[in-house]
């Protein structure tokens, strides 16, 4: 319905500010809601993956070779199940991350299993911080927490690093997922 409505420039500026604030908040919370199941999922997968790697270090390749595809497919299904549009960007992000880590390992080779197990979470943490710079402070906090915990375990718990990543790293992702859901 359209009326001959009289608005002052101050009213118009105020309305535009309200619109901008509401859109920014909505986009941020929508992003958090979208990311939350992914963090919960990968938190659980870290617990399983790093836990198994601690028990069966010789089979790390097979363990992660199974867990990563499961995580990607389940992550896709979680987004679709929640009614989110999942376009080509999901695939593009996955390919970019896989290509980055493949290239990093190639350049740095030989890389020990412990270094591999630290480099991937650090890369993921950096991605979260970068996303958070634009999309919301909770991503930044999550990224910094994951990076700090990974480095702490890498430096301080050489013998039990995989166990540390399973328990503390996985738990950190799960807690971050819950935190984003409650935003």
């Amino acid at each position: 319905m359209v009326f001959a409505m009289v608005l002052s420039p101050q009213d118009a500026a105020g309305a535009l500010r309200d619109i901008e604030a509401a859109q920014a908040r909505s986009a941020q919370l929508h992003g958090y809601a979208r990311s939350s199941p992914q963090l919960l999922l990968w938190g659980v997968l870290w617990v399983i993956g790093y836990g198994l790697q601690d028990l069966l270090p010789a089979h790390a390749g097979a363990i992660w070779g199974a867990i990563v595809p499961v995580g990607l497919i389940a992550g896709f299904a979680a987004l679709r199940g929640a009614g989110h549009e999942v376009g080509w960007r999901y695939g593009a992000v996955v390919v970019t991350l896989l290509a980055f880590f493949a290239a990093a390992f190639f350049v740095l080779w030989p890389v020990s299993p412990r270094q591999q197990a630290a480099l991937i979470p650090l890369g993921v943490a950096a991605a979260y911080v970068i996303i958070g710079i634009w999309r919301g402070p909770r991503y930044v906090t999550t990224g910094i927490a994951v990076a700090a915990l990974t480095l702490a375990g890498f430096v301080l718990l050489r013998q039990h690093f995989f166990l540390w990543m399973a328990g503390v790293g996985g738990a950190a992702l799960i807690l971050a997922g819950i935190w984003l859901r409650r935003a």
Binding site: V2, E20, A22
Partner: protein, 108 residues
């Protein structure tokens, strides 16, 4: 020149439209989440949603997730268009005011 839309311009409805506009096209937002974002009460939000729905600006979908009822809302194509026109109207007011201000400074 774009025109004002009095249905959209009401403060709560303006925020509802802006909130829905920020969500990717084709996606829905749950009533409970919308209520939390806008910090509105059930009754207040419900009445504004009904107004926007009857204007054809938003669509309301009610279903069940398991045994739990769920209400979701999304912008319609008409709503998206009307909101864009209203924003254009607001911007035009500012542009006209700025032009007048510049003219006054030029003549003084």
């Amino acid at each position: 020149m774009a025109q004002a839309d009095e249905i959209i311009h009401q403060q709560t409805r303006l925020k509802i439209m802006a909130t829905l506009r920020a969500i990717p096209q084709g996606e829905w937002i749950e009533f409970a989440r919308l209520k939390a974002i806008l910090q509105a009460t059930d009754g207040n939000l419900g009445s504004h949603i009904a107004t926007l729905e009857s204007a054809g600006y938003i669509a309301v979908n009610k279903d069940f997730v398991g045994k739990k009822p769920r209400t979701r809302v999304a912008l319609t194509r008409n709503g998206r268009k009307a909101f864009a026109q209203h924003i254009e109207f607001l911007r035009t007011i500012l542009e006209v005011a700025e032009a007048r201000h510049d003219d006054q400074e030029g003549t003084s």
